[in-house]
């Protein structure tokens, strides 16, 4: 009966019926009681740095300079740990509000950011520039689809593009210049006789003014993701708020000077950690029925490259967070069929081999949104 009623609602137009027949609003609100947040980490997060498998003896042989000393790690179990820049995620883990998926990837096996993000966001087997985003399709299955989803950030991500209309919110203030973009621009400007020195002067002036940290190429701290997470929480915590929100954080493409306990990647992780904590606290009572999925397009090479960084790889990590009714299956555990880091076990002899399809989590999210299950 319940199912029939929902189908009926979809066919006729939920908002109209809800206003005419208040009794039916229960069916709609039962669904919109749940909140799903997708966080896309663009640039390929190094899963081996975010969640180091410190129990795997091969790890130090391949990337010793990139490793955080064991005693500084936030241990999850006898094999996996969190990077020390993720203390609030660690607390979530202890509260059983976090599942960590390791050695996970989409079916994409090449190493282009653009194509990999396309697969991540369309949920297909292969890149297709014309395809709709999987969350847009999912939003279409929710009652009152037009108000079901919202993009929080600078652009409408592919994952929300498609035939269903989607809301959006963009901060008034311009986003801060991301360090990873700045470093690339510095390489370009270094070749310009007139502008090159002026860019460096400008950066120095900003560093002196004190609002940017330019020390030792460690990059500038910025707050873009935290601002987005706070905004997302404000929207989602409204009774008539959207059921779906998408956030993005960039700057994960750490080819050079990735850092270990501190440095570029540690700063990205800290910002992610802060943003997720803000999201959780901002949601208040809604956190109980919220699921947050944090994903990236692929992982990075197991071995360090020649510039103290890592290159494009295959499998990485995904985080699933949620409250008591957030659709988690095994909160407080690392879920992984560990493929091992012996070179014979590596994907193409270089990358962490995927043992789980990331799209299982997409299906899980849809199931959670539609039925409340995992």
């Amino acid at each position: 009966m319940h199912t029939n009623r929902r189908h009926f609602l979809q066919g006729v137009g939920a908002s109209l019926l809800v206003s005419v027949l208040p009794g039916l609003s229960l069916a709609a609100s039962a669904v919109s009681n749940r909140r799903f947040v997708l966080v896309i980490l663009r640039g390929a997060m190094d899963g081996l740095a975010a969640v180091p498998p410190y129990g795997d003896r091969e790890l130090p042989t391949l990337r010793k300079p990139l490793l955080v000393p064991d005693e500084n790690l936030l241990k999850l179990d006898s094999f996996f740990a969190l990077h020390p820049a993720l203390p609030q995620l660690h607390q979530c883990f202890q509260r059983k509000e976090l599942e960590v998926f390791h050695a996970i990837a989409t079916p994409y096996r090449e190493r282009s950011h653009f194509d990999a993000q396309n697969v991540l966001e369309t949920g297909l087997d292969h890149p297709d520039p014309g395809a709709e985003g999987w969350l847009n399709r999912c939003a279409g299955k929710l009652p009152d689809a037009a108000h079901a989803a919202m993009a929080i950030g600078q652009s409408m991500p592919k994952v929300l593009q498609g035939s269903n209309s989607v809301g959006s919110w963009t901060p008034d203030a311009l986003p801060e210049l991301e360090d990873s973009t700045l470093q690339r621009l510095r390489r370009l400007y270094a070749e310009d006789a007139f502008l090159g020195s002026r860019l460096e002067q400008g950066l120095q002036a900003q560093a002196i003014a004190g609002d940017k940290d330019m020390s030792a190429g460690s990059g500038r701290r910025n707050n873009n993701f935290v601002v987005l997470a706070q905004a997302a929480a404000r929207f989602l915590a409204q009774d008539n708020g959207p059921g779906i929100a998408v956030l993005e954080a960039s700057g994960w493409d750490t080819h050079a000077n990735q850092g270990a306990t501190q440095g570029q990647l540690a700063q990205r992780l800290a910002e992610l950690d802060n943003g997720l904590a803000e999201l959780r606290s901002g949601l208040g009572a809604w956190w109980g029925t919220t699921q947050v999925l944090v994903v990236t397009e692929f992982g990075r090479t197991v071995a360090m490259n020649g510039t103290n960084g890592t290159d494009h790889g295959t499998a990485s990590v995904a985080f699933r967070l949620g409250g008591s009714k957030g659709g988690l299956q095994q909160g407080g555990s690392v879920i992984a069929k560990w493929p091992g880091l012996l070179s014979s076990n590596l994907q193409d002899g270089r990358d962490l081999r995927p043992t789980r399809d990331l799209r299982e989590l997409f299906a899980g999210a849809e199931n959670f949104l539609l039925k409340g299950g995992a």
């Binding site: 993000q117 600078q154 963009t170 991301e178 973009t181 400008g202």
Partner: protein
Amino acid sequence: MGNWYRSIEVAVIQDQQAGYTAGNKFGLGLQPGELQQVGRDPRGWLQQQLTQITRVPAAYKELEASGVLLKRATEDLRETRKAVQAAKKAGGAEVVQPEKSGADSDTGNDARKLLAGNERSSQQELRQQLSLRMQVALTTQTPFAERLVRFWSNHFSIAAGGGAKKVLGEIAVPYENEAIRAHLGGRFAELLVAVEQHPAMLIYLDNASSIGPASMAGQRRQRGLNENLGREILELHSLGVNGGYSQQDVTSLAKIITGWTVGGLTDQRALRGEPGRFLFVPLMHEPGTQHLLGNTYRDDDVKQGVRALHDLATHPATARHIAFKLARHFIADQPPPAAVDELSAVFSKTGGDLPSVHAALIKLEAAWQPEQRKLKTPEELLISLGRGLDIAKLMEANQNRNSRIKNNFLLQALQTFAQVPFTAPSPAGWPDVADYWGGADALMKRIEWSTALAQRLGNQIDAQKLYPQLLPEQATLKQELARAESPMQALALLVASPQFQWRS
């Protein structure tokens, strides 16, 4: 494929650098797909635009003439002032206990409100005109012609100011169309006269209220000569600051053009004329013969000034001054002297025939050398961004949706970068050199703004595909675009790249 196909391909590639230069340096920045059209015959593409240079763009169709706008603006201002006076008087009569009563401040508020309302409608009119002007820049199919209009508009710069000059903001674009665009198909002399007789210039440089000391008005009233326009005609508009004129010449020219004013500026009967239009008032005109640069000009009313301007327009110093400014705009901040000589010779030989001078620009080899480059001004950067990303189309497509970019965001950016058109800091117009625009802080601002824009549009645009349509291939940039960590970052790198900051 047969050989014929290959030979065509080679020909296109050979002309490609010239295509980029035509579109980016002579034009306002390539639009996607434009290179294919331009690249076939870059010089021909520029040349044919010169035949259309006086045509008013369709976007300005609804724009009223400066006479109509100026009449309305001055009447509104006069009405407002009257109302303000009345409000003050009324308030004063009611005030019994000034120290206790709120009436005084209420009337003060009323007056302020009236003036503020007048100010607002002024600014609104300018904003609307600037919005149209941006639209023209983004969509024009004759961008070289449009660049020339803007070059000359900057040469004959006007700026909205306070007081009586507030009205200039309301006739800025009509001024550009009527005085400048309309005269780019003829001689420089005609352009010069049209500009100096346009109400906008007469108001901007105070000639509208300049009175010959020996004129009837001068004798009767205690007011007299204002040298402002006379000086700037010599220093900026014609001979140039080193053009060999003296203070005596400035005073003479100022006297020669006394009586050149605007109808309807005041209630005075003699100044009524046709409201908002050029008006010669004999009562204000300095009588007698004047001497200017060794020439003698007998007093034949308005014709005295027209003859003086004609002589200035064909003076050798004017030819050099104009030639230098054009060469600096179309070649480099320090243009090769030979190029300046060439333009100057064409200017002199043709009696200042503008189509001939503009055509000579196209023939200058130095203008086509990629190493001769110009740093884009902020306005040029924004226009080239808007064209390169086809913002006009994106805005149209997004019209009824939750748009990532608001319609006026380019205008807002002009404010951010401190280059709102018709607000240049001096009558010399906006500086045309990299040292002025390329400061470290300004560069950071460009980069931050461009990357932010790219983040909002990056997933609607494939930067790697767009790149060769806008800029010639360069190894480092190509590599960085391919390696970008997201489509948004790729677009950010493209539009914030050093290459995109230059016209070359």
